[in-house]
Each structure stands twice: as C-alpha cells, then as structure tokens.
Amino acid sequence: MALDKPYADVPGTTVFDADMARKGYHLNQFCMSLMKAANRDRFHADERAYVDEWPMNEDQKQAVLDRDYLRMIELGGNIYFLSKIFASDGKTFVHAAAQMTGMPEDEYKQMMLDGGRSPDGNRYIGEK
C-alpha cells in the first residue's frame, strides 16, 4: 500500500519524506562532505571532478553545478544538507530561498520585511 501523503496538495513545497530521502541519499551525503575544509577546496578547485566522485545521477550532478536549488530539492536534496553547498559559496539561506521562489534577492528580502509571504492563497494547489 502506498504511503499516505496528506501534504501532497500543499503548493510549492516538497516534504522531505522517505521517498525523497531514498532518492536524494547520495546528493545529501555529497553535501555533508563539504563540512570538511579540504573537501570544500577540492570541490571549488574542480567541481565536475569532485561531483564525479559521488554516485549521484547526472541530473543531480548538473543541478549542483548549476546551483539550481529548486531542482536539487526535486531530486531529493534536503535544504539543511544543501545549505552546505551555499555556505561553501559564502551564500545565505535567504539567497537560496529567494532563488527557489524565482524572486530577485532584494525583492524577496523586502517581502520578508513586509511580513513574509501570506498563507492566503498558498494553502492548497489551485486555490485562488
């Protein structure tokens, strides 16, 4: 029997559940490797060679090289693990979050200053 996923109708949200964890295992463990300074240096020196050391699929590797966080999330990345990538780039959670929403960073920051994204209209897929 398939798992019950009552959260599947929440828009713009990927819950990091068992299926995603399975899918993203190697991507997430690659991210963890960046906790070590020596690995960060090797990664930044030759990103392609470094990701090739990991049994990720090509889509995952490409998403890492592109720093496409939304795509990495779709491919099983977990945001706290992915944070090791943007931290190693000297970037913040706000940077990554803004990128995932498709908003320029200053616009996203202003939205937060104005009280954040309202839940109204954002609770269910297809809600007006």
């Binding site: 991210c31 090791k84 979050a97 929403t101």
Partner: protein, 280 residues
C-alpha cells in the same frame, strides 16, 4: 529532589548566531529581535537554573543520512560547538549534566520512549543560538546543559501528541532525581517559516499567535495539531514547533505565561519566544 521550575521557548535562526558573534545586534534590522530577550536575560540572572534540559534539533551537523535518531539525549560531560561548514561558533564549551542525563535516559525509556543515548556529538546553532540569545557572550555558560535532539529534518518527525507526552515523561524523570536541582526545560525552533520551494518565505502571524495563546493553558489542544497543518499553515519548517510541546509537557498540568516576544522577520523566520512558569 530535582524540580522543573520553568520553561523557555525560542527560535534558533542560524544568522542570529552570526550577528551576535560579529557584534551587529544593534542595527535597525536586528535591534527589535534582541530587545525582546532583555526580560529573559534579567529573569534568568535571578532564577539561576542549575541545569537546562535543552530540546533542539540538529541540522545535518552531528547527524546526517547515515543515522537519524528520532529522540537523542546527550549524556556526555561536555560538548563542543559544531563546525557547520564555516568554522565553529566562538562560544564556550557546553558542560553537560551526565548524572541527571543518564537518570532521565533510564527513566524515560522505562516510560516507553525509545531514546538514543549519545556520548559524543557537536552541537549546532539549534542549541547554541538560544544560549547566546538568553545569556549573551559569557566566558563560560552559567549552568549545565543536557542536549536533547529531536529529528525534525527527515520526515516523518514525531507528532505533537507524542512530543507532549514525552515532555510529561521527562518531567517524571527529572522529578525523581535525588539531588536538589533547579531545572529548566527549553524548547527551541519555529515559529512559522519555510526555507525551500516556491512557497519559501511563508509567515503566518495569526497562526503563530494562536499557538502562543494556547501554550500555557490548552497544550492538549495544541498536541492534536497534525503534521499537515503545521506544513500548510506554518510552512514546511514550522513543524519544528513540536519541540515546544516537549517543553510544555515537562512543565506539568498548570503553567503560567510570564513573558512573550514575537517579531517578523529574522532572515526567513518569525521569531517567537516565551517564558512559562510551572505551577503544579
């Protein structure tokens, strides 16, 4: 005997740690966040807890996909701040309370909660940021800390009802420890925030406020909130609030709200902070 005298809840946003460490707390953006902790700093200075049982979550620092304990209790004599990828925070070593921690582990497991016992782990912003918010930048932390890590990173996280009951079991455990100790239980995380996906940036002030309004007097209602409601209403990461229910369960049946602070935004998050006194 040891007594749980009070509970504190607080957000634990990583950027707050950075701002404290670099001394930028009085900028217009950050001032209102930190001012909201002044009451608690003074209150803690007079309360002088011996031990803080600190409920927090690890953010892929001590634990990664190799090992994901749902509930983990730190029983070591001391713990270091974690290097989260940009060097460890310049904060004091965290002194544990191993005798009490082992006692709680045995008692709580006998009350049907399967805790993982940890004797070696580094502690990330989930634990160190609340300490910095509440104690500032001392040479050494003024009390012993028992780190209690809850998995809220890999779904499914434990539900609110289970967390509330776990808090009650922790209260039983602490109250049966044979040493005269003033113990506080802190619950960290939240409030509404979402840091992934197209819906990132979600904040729900009304929902957060209602959650705070019910924490002292109607925790059994809060304990019934399903995962999906946290995700839908408080954002994917708002689910961290189940950790506040562990704190509340540990205060016993009656608790009184002494103080609250709520501010939007800090980075991507609604900052929520409360102080509750145990009244049983």
């Amino acid at each position: 005997m040891a007594r749980v005298t009070a509970g504190v809840t607080s957000s634990h946003i990583p950027l707050i740690g950075r701002v404290i460490d670099t001394g930028e707390t009085s900028t217009p953006y950050w001032k209102p966040v930190f001012e909201g902790y002044e009451f608690t700093k003074a209150w803690l200075a007079s309360e002088k807890p011996d031990v803080i049982f600190l409920v927090y979550n690890d953010h892929a620092s001590a634990f990664d996909m190799r090992m994901i304990p749902t509930f983990a209790i730190g029983c070591a004599e001391r713990f270091n701040p974690a290097d989260e990828g940009y060097g460890p925070r310049p904060v004091p070593v965290i002194e544990g309370a191993p005798d009490l921690a082992w006692h709680v582990a045995q008692s709580v497991i006998q009350q049907d909660f399967d805790l993982t016992i940890i004797n070696e782990m580094d502690l990330d912003h989930g634990l160190t940021v609340p300490l910095s918010l509440m104690f500032g930048q001392p040479e050494a932390w003024p009390c012993k800390i028992i780190p209690f890590a809850v998995n809220v990173v890999v779904y499914p996280v434990p539900n609110g009802r289970r967390c509330y009951k776990l808090g009650q079991a922790i209260r039983n455990a602490i109250s049966s420890f044979d040493e005269d100790l003033n113990v506080q239980v802190w619950g960290t995380g939240g409030m509404s925030h979402q840091i992934q996906g197209k819906r990132a940036g979600l904040i729900n002030k009304e929902w957060d406020k209602a959650f705070m309004d019910r924490l002292a007097d109607s925790p059994d209602e809060l304990a019934e909130i399903e995962h999906v409601e946290y995700i839908r209403e408080a954002g994917a990461e708002g689910i961290e609030l189940v950790m506040w229910l562990i704190m509340r369960g540990a205060l016993g049946e009656h608790a009184r709200e002494l103080y609250r602070h709520y501010h939007v935004p800090a980075s991507n998050t609604a900052v929520g902070h409360m102080v509750l006194e145990a009244c049983d």
